[in-house]
């Protein structure tokens, strides 16, 4: 089932601009917001906003080095995202498997027994 944390995680990764920021952090490691802004086609202000969202989702962390704030990817957060993705797929696979079982049972029952019209119940 979804949680608030999952929700933040997926919102964070869903945005293509944030994925771009995340990509840069993954391949370049400890960098500043200004450095990131120099490598993306959007403003420094937008970069800062994206970093806040990524940080809240647990995908990015920051540390101070002298007067600079450097950002880096949180491997644990990334790991969690991968697992959440797999969980969601598994959840739908389970639901589809149940639908398959129910529909096939209903079909077998209808084919194997009563004449048409029988067992046709309508409930409010």
């Amino acid at each position: 089932m979804t949680t608030q944390a999952d929700d933040e995680l997926w919102s964070a990764i869903a945005d293509p601009s944030r994925r771009r920021v995340l990509d840069l952090l993954v391949s370049n490691g400890d960098v500043s917001a200004s450095w990131l802004a120099g490598h993306v086609p959007f403003s420094r202000q937008a970069v800062s906003k994206h970093l806040v969202v990524l940080e809240q989702a647990g995908l990015v962390s920051r540390r101070k080095q002298g007067r600079e704030v450097l950002y880096q990817v949180e491997a644990h957060g990334l790991d969690q995202a991968t697992r959440a993705m797999a969980d969601l797929a598994a959840q739908w696979d389970r639901r589809l498997a149940t639908i398959k079982r129910l529909a096939e049972a209903a079909h077998a029952e209808a084919a194997g027994s009563s004449p048409p019209g029988q067992g046709d119940r309508h409930e409010g």
């Binding site: 696979d93 589809l96 639908i99 129910l102 096939e104 079909h107």
Partner: protein, 148 residues
């Protein structure tokens, strides 16, 4: 999980009409989805989904028997589901012969709907494999950079 598009499918040995009833009738839905389902299957109808001791509203979007059924829900937030705050679940039924149906489901989140069309398309193109690969690639790059 908002913004995510996931797509899964299954091949069912039953006609589309039977599969349709399984995915749309509330007493059937309560067997594969929520614990309790209050829903009238009509476009725009409002209903309720109960999961354990929590629940949330659901709104029916498309009802096109026996090929398309979609609804919007925003469990566990409980606000009225509208584009912008909810997940959209879409079922597509494709008959394969008279006794077999391919059932596809997709779930997409709210950010997707607020995006410009170009982004939406780019995003929709990624699907499940795209997401899995994306995360996988990030993890690999990270592992290479931080050995051990």
């Amino acid at each position: 999980m908002a913004g995510l598009v996931i797509e899964r499918e299954v091949l069912i040995e039953a006609p589309a009409e039977v599969v349709w009833r399984t995915i749309t009738e509330p007493d059937q839905m309560s067997q594969w989805f929520a614990d309790r389902v209050e829903l009238v299957v009509e476009p725009g109808a409002h209903g309720y989904l109960q999961f354990g001791d929590q629940g949330g509203p659901v709104v029916v979007e498309t009802v096109d028997p026996p090929t398309r059924f979609s609804f919007r829900w925003n469990y566990p937030h409980g606000e009225e589901p509208v584009p912008g705050n909810s997940m959209l679940v879409e079922f597509t039924l494709t008959p394969e012969g008279s006794e077999r149906t391919r059932l596809r489901v997709s779930e997409s989140g709210h950010e997707l709907l607020a995006w410009p069309d170009g982004e939406k398309q780019r995003y929709a193109d990624e699907h499940w494999d795209g997401w899995a690969e994306y995360l996988d690639r990030l993890a690999r790059v990270l592992a290479k950079r931080q050995p051990g």
